[in-house]
């Protein structure tokens, strides 16, 4: 990206933050129901983008994402509640914990492929939940109550942007390309000198890391967490967003994360009928756009060049 593109991009991002911040905290334009959805949107974008790194870019169909979210949520909640660790540090610690869980689970399961991997990771996700139900220290099935409500629009926004930027940078590096070669052709990848086990585990545990961040944000917004929150359904929600947005498109994952959240919110009054509409929409997208909304295309910062006409002088290439 050129300096100008970075400048325009960051001022756009700042503007979005500012407008939403003012509308919630100062002008009072956004009601509490919509505020909840805005936080959900951020969490869902983090989940979708991080799962896309595993499923979309590295091509490993993993279904235990909610489990790692749970690890992040529980770790950070325990740290802030019982040990008085500052919020940001607690969230990062939760993410690191999820990262290590990712390595522990990834090393044995990533030897499997396709549907076998899906079922193995699904099993591990459920194991994490099952273990949490049986630990009294974290409240068993009732979960943890009374976590400080610290997550707000600003924190959610910061963590979401950091997640998207870091994963985007990773994908556009040598290491990210190594992951993509595994998706394209694992045998050829290994024969080009790439340690595929290392990169599959890396992508998987990085995905877990960011899912852990999403969990930490969640725990400190809804101030109570239960094992049931992080059941299979949550993993599938993330997978649906990834497929809907396009496997291997960060832009797609962001759009799908936002789209699914706000569509759910908009249809809330329809009650149970909402799920029918949601499902029909999914079927339609898969029938008419099986590659997902974005395919594997990305938003390019070059669109800013069109918005901001050049002031003569030299052309950035």
């Amino acid at each position: 990206m050129t300096k100008k593109q970075i400048l325009v991009l960051s001022s756009t991002l700042f503007f979005v933050w500012f407008v939403v911040y003012m509308a919630t905290d100062v002008w009072g334009l956004i009601n509490s129901f919509q505020q909840v959805n805005i936080i959900w949107a951020g969490i869902n974008v983090i989940l979708a983008v991080s799962l896309n790194l595993v499923v979309g870019f590295t091509g490993q169909l993993a279904l235990g994402h909610a489990g790692f979210m749970a690890v992040g949520a529980y770790t950070s909640a325990v740290l802030t509640m019982h040990f008085g660790i500052p919020y940001v540090l607690a969230i990062l610690a939760g993410a690191v914990m999820a990262f290590f869980m990712g390595i522990v689970i990834g090393l044995p399961t990533l030897r499997l492929r396709g549907d076998y991997l899906a079922i193995a990771t699904l099993g591990f996700g459920e194991i994490i939940r099952g273990v949490l139900v049986n630990i009294d220290y974290v409240g068993g099935a009732a979960g943890i109550n009374g976590i400080a409500k610290i997550t707000n629009w600003t924190w959610t926004y910061i963590f979401t942007i950091i997640t998207v930027v870091l994963i985007n940078n990773f994908i556009h590096s040598l290491h990210g390309k190594a992951c993509i070669t595994i998706r394209d052709d694992e045998v050829a990848s290994e024969l080009m000198g790439i340690n595929t086990t290392y990169y599959k585990t890396l992508a998987f545990s990085m995905g877990a890391f960011f899912a852990g961040i999403a969990g930490g944000l969640y725990a400190h917004y809804f101030f109570m967490i239960q094992p049931a929150t992080f059941a299979l359904q949550k993993s599938f929600d993330a997978l649906v967003m990834v497929v809907l947005g396009g496997l291997g498109s960060i832009t797609g994952a962001v759009l799908a994360g936002l789209g699914v959240t706000f569509m759910n919110a908009a249809l809330i009054e329809l009650g149970a009928f909402r799920m029918v509409i949601y499902s029909v929409l999914l079927i339609l997208v898969m029938m008419f756009r099986p590659q997902g909304l974005m395919g594997n295309k990305e938003f390019s910062a070059r669109v800013f060049d069109r918005i901001l006409p050049k002031r003569g002088g030299k052309d950035d290439v």
Partner: protein, 255 residues
């Protein structure tokens, strides 16, 4: 440079390769020929670590590489192409080449996340080197094209570029001329000659196109039913009765 001693590979009860002996000296251009199903590609898969041999030793520059993982063998200096082209289809031409640098041009994960100065320097260096290689193979205009969108012949050439990017000492070419017309085959022969000199390579190639094999190989191995049945210069091989029998059947010999 490379030596296979008594290498066998069993699939269940079937011996795909039996007592394979071969040696390749530095700088040689050796051909591996044989009828369909003789085990030529299996031999390549053994040499590159895709399969590990049931028994026997594979020595590469004095070190036994049998049973090592493919990526380790590649990083030690053996690179290959594939019979049924295996490019990274969703990636651009130049990215395919850059992936080949993986084992010897790198930066840390930290640079990958934050795109600092090291990232930019290394990326620029890779860009230049990749373009240099693409120019040799006359693919420089296709740099941003998706690998899967290239015509067949160019895909084959790109596979060789990608393998060269891994900086091999020994290059294994699996049917590089498959599906090419005589004109393209001729160009390919010239190209193989050129890269062998420019990159000081040792080359082992599998090929069905006899004009190519006889034209450029200095020495040949003939494989049939998993065994080496003959070895020698192209002239010797042409007149070897065992080879004629393997290719044309026993009757042809007496006809």
């Amino acid at each position: 440079m490379f030596k296979a001693k008594k290498v066998s590979k069993m699939f269940g009860g079937l011996a795909a390769i039996k007592d394979l002996h071969l040696h390749i000296e530095p700088g040689e251009l050796v051909g591996l020929i044989g009828p369909n199903g003789a085990g030529k590609t299996t031999a390549f898969n053994l040499m590159t670590g895709v399969y590990s041999p049931t028994e026997g030793e594979l020595c590469f520059v004095g070190e036994n590489v049998a049973g090592l993982k493919p990526y380790i063998i590649t990083n030690k200096g053996i690179a290959r192409t594939f019979q049924n082209i295996r490019l990274f289809k969703s990636m651009s031409v130049i990215d395919n080449v850059k992936v080949g640098f993986h084992g010897h041009i790198q930066y840390s994960l930290f640079s990958a996340f934050f795109h600092g100065k090291t990232y930019r320097t290394v990326e620029t260096e890779m860009e230049n080197r990749a373009m240099h290689l693409l120019q040799i193979f006359n693919l420089q205009d296709k740099r941003d094209e998706l690998a899967s969108n290239l015509p067949y012949g160019e895909q084959r050439r790109l596979e060789i570029v990608r393998a060269l990017a891994a900086k091999p000492k020994l290059l294994l070419l699996d049917e590089p001329a498959a599906g090419m017309n005589p004109q393209e085959t001729k160009q390919l022969m010239a190209l193989i000659h050129k890269i062998r000199q420019d990159f000081q390579l040792t080359i082992l190639l599998i090929e069905h196109d006899m004009s190519l094999v006889m034209g450029i190989c200095e020495r040949l191995y003939v494989l049939d039913y998993g065994r080496i049945i003959a070895e020698g210069t192209p002239e010797e091989i042409k007149n070897n009765p065992k080879v004629i029998e393997a290719y044309l059947g026993e009757e042809a010999l007496h006809a």
